[in-house]
Amino acid sequence: MPLQILLTLVIGGIAAIAMLLHMLGKSALLALDTNSAKEAWLRHFPDDTVQDLLVAGDGHAALVLTDRGPGLLWSFGADTVARHLRDFTYLDGDTRQTIRFSDYGAPRVCLRLTATERQRWQTLMRGT
């Protein structure tokens, strides 16, 4: 097959599929509640015991307190990703907060916490 036709097919095909998916509403972020967040955490870490759990007001992240320390669960497209809060940096901001992990496969998470949530989360993230 001539390279020009192959490239057109590949680039056109990828663009068409991505656009179609977006128009079909497949780009929505998963919304979490207390139950789904706990279930999602235990899916990632089945050996943990969840002691407490705070879901962010926007429903896209949860701070999970476990017997192995605090952890962060966040919406990742239609799914979730979770990490224990070890070896991380918290960057505060009025409207947006960032957590950076020392993890090439999960480098950062952006949160949108209210002022009240920010204060409480910061205290709990330190594990105190």
Partner: protein, 323 residues
């Protein structure tokens, strides 16, 4: 020796088929509200990884080709290009695929390349195209050496390798339940391969087959898909990025970080590079055996059921390599 044969470039010709099949699967899911899930960025990442994998093959293909041609130059055997030679090679190459794939899940150096095929939490036809860009670095082309030395031409190797990959495309779907019993008994199917992509403790390290599921049954790695336990797709520790570069290289970065930590013995460094995924010198991580043993500690009633052999050690004895 025969002249250079001219086999069709099947993977290139399959591209329109891939696009059409993805659109058909998506349409089916949207209309029927069942048969799988799609997410825009996940699918986009998979498709970019597929295109990148083809590009990598074009750029670095000369390494594998050169190696195979060097072997072809020294072998006195030539099985030719008859239909029987092609069929025999298809069977033997699928056996080769089984072992390379098994190594890809049991040796971290090879897993670092293969992991990105498993890094989606979705299972649809785009997942089939989520292929590695770093396969050449694993040196697994060595496993093809016996076939060349037996007299199969390198061009046949690439042709049949393409057919094998095309066969595996259609089995990456939840839209197909189970195939007829005779087909499920011999061939790799969507049901068998869903198990392979499951991160459930039961389904780890199972169903490595490419085309024929018989290899898993012969070598003891077959686990059937249970109606009572739907596969949960993705990695034991899922990645949190849609960035294709990070998806491709994340395990390589982790591997090199682990190998280069200070204070390790040479054996421990080798363990991080060539031990099973999940190896750790201090027992802080779990291999698949450890994950299965922990699952059995929580769910002892599962012992002896598919995916949990009676030989698995109790969780307290699970196989962490010793420091």
């Amino acid at each position: 020796m025969t002249e250079m044969p001219n086999y069709p470039e099947v993977l290139q010709w399959a591209v329109p088929l891939f696009v059409a099949a993805i659109l058909a699967e998506l349409l089916w899911i949207v209309i029927k509200h069942r048969g799988g899930r799609y997410e825009t960025r996940d699918a986009l990442t998979s498709l970019i990884l597929g295109a990148g994998s083809v590009a990598e093959g074009i750029v670095l293909g000369f390494v594998t080709w050169g190696f195979l041609m060097a072997l072809w130059a020294i072998t006195p055997l030539d099985l030719g290009h008859s239909i029987w030679a092609i069929l025999l090679f298809f069977l033997l190459d699928d056996l080769r695929y089984y072992w390379v794939h098994r190594f890809g899940h049991r040796i971290r150096w090879v897993w670092a390349s293969h992991v990105n095929h498993h890094s989606s939490q979705h299972y649809n036809l785009t997942t089939a195209l989520r292929q590695t860009w770093t396969g050449t670095f694993t040196m697994m082309m060595i496993v093809r050496a016996p076939l060349i030395l037996l007299g199969f031409h390198p061009a046949l190797v690439l042709f049949v390798g393409g057919l094998n990959l095309i066969y595996q495309f259609w089995i990456h779907t939840e839209a197909i339940g189970k195939m007829p019993r005779w087909f499920e008994a011999v061939m790799n199917t969507p049901s068998h391969h869903r198990v392979h992509h499951g991160r459930n403790a039961r389904y780890l390290d199972a169903n490595y087959a490419g085309v024929f599921i018989i290899w898993d049954k012969m070598f003891g790695t077959f686990v059937p898909e249970l109606d009572s336990e739907k596969p949960d797709y993705g990695l034991v520790q899922n990645i949190g990025t849609f960035n294709p570069i990070r998806a491709v290289f994340h395990e390589w970065v982790s591997l090199f970080r682990d190998v280069s930590q200070p204070g390790l013995s040479p054996r421990q460094r080798l363990g991080y590079a060539f031990g099973p995924p999940g190896y750790s010198h201090d027992g802080s991580r779990d291999t698949s055996l450890g994950i299965k043993a922990k699952h059995l500690a929580r769910n002892p009633q599962d012992r002896g059921t598919p995916g949990f052999s009676d030989e698995l050690p109790p969780a307290s004895d699970r196989l962490h390599a010793q420091p």
